[in-house]
Amino acid sequence: MSEFLRSWLVLVVFGGLAVAVVGTFLGLGSLLRPQRATEQKVMNYESGVDPQGDRWSQSNIRYYVFALMFVLFDVEVVFIFPWAARLEAYGMFGLVEMAIFIFILALGLFYAWRKRLLRWI
């Protein structure tokens, strides 16, 4: 077995142990505890509020906008990470470049805010 694989073996052993321990306790618990289900007990838990509707209820398409905005701004981080990792090497030039980049992103967010897109409907 190579050195590389051996170091992974530790991880596999730990993972196996974790699964075994959790499985044993949960299994023992389900064997030992009394099972008298009532309607209240099997109801979905929604922080103490009575659940409404089906689990597969569709959400209003307007909520998509938030997801879209998230995706848009989230992905831009792909440029910020490499820059941050080599921050010193890029020096002032990099700082100014990134400032412009982030300014334009912030402007987009600002525009969305002024367009009242960030309001939870």
Binding site: R86, E88, A89, Y90, G91, G94, I104, L107, F110
Partner: protein, 503 residues
Amino acid sequence: MFAQAETVATPEVLWWALVPLLVLAGAAVLLLTVASLVRRLPEWLPAAWTIVAGLAVLVSVVPLWNEVQDDGARSFLAGAVGIDGSTLFVTALLAVAVVATALLSRAYLTREDLPGVELYVLLLLSAAGGVVMASANDLIVLFLGLELLSIAVYVMAALHLRRIQSQEAALKYFVLGAFASAFLLYGIALVYGATGATGLARIAGYLSTTILLEDGMLMAGFGLLLVGLGFKVAAVPFHAWAPDVYQGAPTPVVAWMAAGVKAAGFAALLRVFVLTFGSWSGEWQPAVWGLAILTVLGGSVVAVVQTDVKRMLAYSSIAHAGFLLVGVQAASDRGTAAVLTYLGVYTLLACGSFAVVTVVGGAGDDRHGIDAYRGLGARRPWLAGAFAVLLLGQAGVPFTAGFVAKFGVIAAATEGHSYALAGIAMVSAAVAAFVYLRILVALYMEDRHLEDDDEAGAVEVDPAPWGPRIVITVSVALVLVLGVVPGPLVDLAKDAVPVLVGG
């Protein structure tokens, strides 16, 4: 592991060469900022701002042109961006198209009662993308420019909030545009794999010095690039989106699509194929030859059976793309100059024609059937006369600029011994002339049969606001002047032949 203290050499930037791009992008960003800060902008401000930005770009191109003509082309930003005659020529065309579109949009948005800062912001950004494409010296930069151009146009097409056609057009354009982008990108990846570079200068250097034993990957890359760019310029068989999108999108946006997007697309085709893959022209010329034939014939023939003038103009713009491809196919300096001349003329023709369509379309933007044009010659002699000139220009009748343009590409094709292609192009020019003739007949020969009908009043064309009026007047005047004195434009185009400079 951690960042060492050594510094990365920052690329050289020729700021003066970036002025047109910075003006366009800066104007867009500033306009968006102001529009976000101020709740109610004066209605004229965004349009005026856009027009000023467009004119500023036009003015800034002049000293840059002199610089490039004196000192030759340059490349900077580590060889990723270049500036040469064709860059500036296309930049100027885009600026003209921006000004024309802004003039049309102002009238259009007022008439349709639409909020409108976004249209101008997107127009400026889209133009910035076009400038990036025209100055790209790297395939990835080209892709970025193309996406900036296209994504802005997808949104512009959807901007008419109350017309479902507008949004449908946007969706169609988007899906097919994204499809085309993926093809283009795959082509870039394969060319990168075959040559080991994405920089145009390095690819050109590699291709002209290396004999590839296994050229499958490169050929596939050529093909995919051609498909991707073919979609963007609406070449048959990748044209299916064009008529629907032209019909559905707001008319000023269509003017921009026809003039701006096409100019940028052909700038890219010239840079990538004629310039970079020039040493392998034997390999891609047959493909472009086929595309050109299909496009000129397809566009002209299908245009004949249309009843909607916007669709008719869409097919005729496809036919124009075919003529432009005829020039690209020549793969020579003469062909390139002819394509640039054609683009210049077509920018005028497209802006002018769609300005007329904007006016005739009337409130609601849906009177585009040929019926709306019947008898226009009697009711609105000036408007009809202008449209007639523009249509004759599109047909390529002598003494209009269209003749100069068509003559140029066909002469370039014959010089390249593509006699069959030149012949077919001439035949389809004749077929296309029939289309324009049909509209002309409607304009002048046919009376409206609805004279006593109640509806007759409803179809009356509103007087043109000053924006479209300026666009129509200027484009008609230039089409006529360039038809008689084509020298200046042709000379400019000859000086604008692109050059690759390694970085």
